[in-house]
Each structure stands twice: as C-alpha cells, then as structure tokens.
Subunit: 172 residues, 2 copies
C-alpha cells in the first residue's frame, strides 16, 4: 500500500483491491467517491456565490442556458430537460419572469401550454453569466497544468457517461 505525499497531507494511495484488515480504515481523502462529492458540493456552493451578484442561482443559469438553445419550449418540456417536476418549474419561471428574463407567451400548438421565451435582457445577462462560469471553471482547475486539465475533463466526461444520468442534468 503506497503512501503519497501532497503538501502537508499524507494519504494512502487509492487501491482497487481492498485491505482485508478490518482495522485499517481508508481515509476519506483517499476515497474517490468522497473526493468527487466533496468537490462537487464545494463547486456548486462556490458557483452559487459567484452568481449572486447577478441575481441568479445555478438553476437559473442552467435553464437560461438551455433556453438559449431551445427557445419557446413549454414548461413541461423544460422540466423534463432539467430532470425536475413541472411543479418546481413554475417557481423557477416565476423568478425569471419577475427579473424580466423570460416571458410566458401563448404556445402556438397547445393552448394549455406556455411558450417560454428569453428576453433581450436575458441574452445580455447570459453573456455575463457565461463569463462568471468561465471564471469559476478556471479557478477550480487553477492548480492543474494544461495537460492535467485535458486529462481531468476527459476523465469526468467518461464518468458522467457511465452513470444513468442524462447529459447535462443536475440531480435534485
């Protein structure tokens, strides 16, 4: 079992075949599941902080980004795309509408449905939010060199592919 040194931390190297000694506890910092979860919650929280000055939460960013590619969709379709219930989508659209970022218009094919459209203001704000997201991404991987960054994004995409999660959908 290899010992690795990372700055002032000493951790056990990751092992796929597990120690048979029950007394040896794998430290959380050597567990890939823990590391991903820890970093994921941190990244999510940090991103939320960064978006706050724009009056947005991560879910708003996700929906606005989706709408920029699929404008005029019904709320039910948007809910499906984001992996949430349509009831929850009502509130998100409400918030965006209050901020003047989307408009509910009549759907051309179905009078029950609302066609959700981005406003010009939303396009402007989204450009700014993209910059914030770029900064966020760059800060996250600031410690990595160019080759490591490419490795990381490829590894994460491979992992994401092999979960049963739809692409681009965030749990909860």
């Amino acid at each position: 079992m290899a010992i690795q040194h990372y700055g002032n931390r000493v951790i056990l190297a990751y092992m796929t075949d597990v120690s048979t000694d029950p007394a040896v506890m794998t430290p959380l910092t050597a567990r890939v599941g823990f590391l991903i979860s820890q970093l994921g919650f941190y990244a999510s929280e940090r991103f939320a902080q960064r978006l706050t000055p724009l009056g947005l939460a991560p879910r708003h960013f996700g929906l606005l980004t989706h709408l920029s590619l699929h404008d005029g969709q019904a709320q039910q379709r948007l809910a499906d795309a984001m992996g949430i219930h349509r009831n929850a989508m009502v509130g998100i659209i409400d918030e965006l509408e209050e901020r003047g970022l989307v408009r509910r218009q009549r759907h051309p094919d179905d009078r029950r449905a609302h066609a959700v459209h981005l406003t010009d203001h939303a396009h402007d704000l989204l450009t700014e939010a993209q910059r914030v997201a770029d900064e966020h991404d760059n800060d996250l991987i600031a410690a990595l060199d160019e080759q490591q960054r490419e490795q990381l994004i490829e590894l994460l995409q491979t992992l994401a592919m092999h979960t049963d999660l739809p692409a681009g959908v965030h749990p909860t």
Copy 2:
C-alpha cells in the same frame, strides 16, 4: 475548438481561453464545474442509497470513520472535525446512540463534555460499511482503466488541496 465524440454524445472540448462570440454557449457537459457538481451530487445520493440497508447515512459513515481513529472525543471537537455546528452534532450522536453504535460517557477532563465512544457493534458495522464504500468507489470508476484511475485520484486530490476546505470535510 475541438469536437470530441463520446459514445452517442458530441461535445465541445474544454477550453481555457473562452470564445469571444457571446452567441456561442458552452454546453454544460463541457464545463468542469458542472461535471464535478453533477457527479458529486450523484455520487453522494448513490452512496446514501447503498448505506440505507445498514441503517446509515453518509454523515454517520463519516463520523464513525472519524471516531475509529479518534475515539472518545467531545462532541464539540467532533463537530469541528466535520465542519458542522455542535447543535447538529447532537442529533447525529442521538441517531448513532439509538442504533447502539456509540456511547456517551463522562469525559475524563471536563464534566461538561461527553466522551463519545464506538461500541463493538459499531466496529463490526463499520467493517461492513467500508466494504460498501469500496464497492461504491469501484463502481464510480468502473469505466476507467488502471492508469486512468490513478490519474483521476491524483487530479482530484490536487483540486481538493487547492480549495479552502479542510481535508476530509464535506460541505453542508
């Protein structure tokens, strides 16, 4: 801007220098922050499901693991170690005590404090929980070969080192 193919997905390669065209939205699946957050929430949720049959939640696993290395600590110190408020620690200890996994004993140095000790049952259950965590880790990285697994764990540890999070502490 390179196009990458992953199974039935086509994504834009990650770029550190951002497109200056505001109309070009970086897809979420090409954002390292989104990928980490998505995988983190998924991993956390999945781990919680795996622990359910043992009657444990991830926070219980974290605390039991910590106690296996630092038995007999006061609740305040445990709360500090896990990065939560002492008020929240009361509930977690309550749950573990109900399940017969820890005992609150009198602290040798401070009569205000409780020394929290693992029971024999906890040691047995922790062995089982470690196996569950090992399975969880292995499933997460099942799509990677041996070299990629080593790369991933090293990259994640490097990222974790450069956040302001204490080692082994999970946000919220």
